[in-house]
């Protein structure tokens, strides 16, 4: 009798599995995806650039400064600040801006670059640190997640590495 009940339950569960299969494209996939989307997760800041700290409006374009990204302890990425110039289409052919990254009213870096006509090309330019908190660099040159100057979507994205090596192993 017990074996029979278990068998009936097994067939019921198999039927349920088939029902799940039918529901996958119409209900379940979306439900699970929504659950993941609403789980309060975020893409790691070393990829996404973190959260926006302040925005400066210029004639025709904006400069968006992000909060400094301090990677997790053993992450093989250096700390950096992301700056986004957008829209790329409205930027002058050559951009040169002194930017206050930490909100203290003093400019921290001078960012200059030439906006390439080709949307896939990388801008050539440089970042000059105006104090010891940030690192200067030139592009084209070696790059990493914390030292970048690229076109991304309709924007030019610059990542300025911080000078502090606190919290990093390497």
């Amino acid at each position: 009798m017990r074996a029979r009940i278990i068998a009936v339950l097994a067939y019921a569960a198999a039927g349920l599995t088939l029902a799940i299969a039918v529901l996958v494209p119409f209900v379940l996939m979306g439900t699970f995806a929504r659950a993941v989307a609403h789980a309060g997760l975020h893409v790691d800041a070393s990829y996404s650039g973190g959260t926006v700290a302040r925005t400066f409006t210029r004639s025709g374009h904006q400069i968006v400064v992000y909060e400094p990204v301090r990677p997790h302890a053993l992450q093989r990425v250096d700390p950096f600040v992301q700056i986004v110039f957008r829209p790329a289409a409205s930027l002058p052919a050559h951009v040169s801006e002194d930017i206050d990254l930490d909100g203290d009213g003093q400019a921290d870096v001078r960012v200059s670059f030439t906006v390439p006509a080709d949307r896939r090309a990388r801008p050539a330019g440089e970042v000059v640190a105006l104090n010891g908190k940030y690192q200067s660099f030139r592009m084209p040159g070696s790059y990493s997640f914390s030292k970048l100057m690229v076109q991304s979507g309709d924007a030019v994205l610059v990542r300025v590495p911080l000078n502090s090596s606190a919290g990093l192993v390497r």
Partner: protein, 232 residues
């Protein structure tokens, strides 16, 4: 230099240890996990092994702190020898993991030796004599614990910088010791591995993981050493 009284320093060390514990866990966990998994089943056994590991780690902490203190500088963040030490310790950790994954010192020559059916020692589970086992397990925990203790991980550096502001070597050592106990709390869950059922497959997997992690540590440490050797 601002001198911090030790009464304040001890409280801060404990809080610092508790706060940076997850980072210690991430730093030392990859070494502790496979090591604990190859140990025999039982919460008591695991607790003993973990205690030995942590005690060796503490001795590594204290020895390093005392050495740099006596040398005149308590681990500045920009200390140039950090990369050399980090790289060297990582390579030693790789060697340690490989040695214990291969079953040494249970067998005299684990890599070269092979059984009758030609299978590698690396995937064999051979029970050594009981006396050998406890001795070698202890030495394994001591070696790996000590090496993780001197591996200059980020929380270690933070503690080092704070310890530098204390008045004497004794205060600095006390600061490190209390800091260590703060971080050690985070390792307690590893004892629960003792209740996980052990099978030969389980131990084999743990040993293989140790080998893979050894490869990673060798790469990470080796690349730092090579980088330093080339670029200074």
């Amino acid at each position: 230099m601002v001198v911090v009284p030790i009464s304040t320093g001890a409280g801060e060390a404990l809080l610092l240890g508790l706060a940076t514990g997850p980072v210690c866990l991430a730093s030392c966990g990859p070494v502790v996990l496979p090591w604990m998994l190859v140990q025999p089943r039982g919460v008591r056994v695991q607790a003993r092994q973990l205690s030995i590991f942590l005690a060796a780690r503490l001795s590594g902490y204290l020895l390093f702190a005392a050495t740099v203190w006596l040398a005149g500088s308590v681990i500045p963040r920009s200390w140039s020898g950090r990369s050399w030490l980090f790289g060297g310790v990582q390579v030693l950790l790789a060697v340690g993991l490989l040695v214990y994954a291969a079953g040494w010192p249970h067998t005299r020559c684990s890599f070269a030796d092979s059984s009758a059916d030609g299978s590698s020692r690396l995937v064999q589970i051979d029970e050594p004599p009981r006396s050998h086992r406890s001795r070698s397990h202890r030495s394994g925990a001591v070696t790996l614990g000590f090496l993780t203790g001197i591996s200059v991980c980020p929380p270690f550096l933070v503690a080092g910088v704070r310890a530098a502001q204390l008045g004497s070597l004794a205060d600095a050592l006390l600061f490190f010791a209390v800091f260590f106990f703060g971080t050690a709390v985070w390792f307690a869950p590893f004892v629960s591995l003792g209740v996980v059922r052990r099978s030969s497959s389980f131990v084999t997997v743990a040993r293989m993981v140790a080998v893979l992690l050894a490869c990673w540590y060798a790469f990470a440490g080796g690349s730092v050493l090579i980088e330093r050797a080339i670029y200074g």
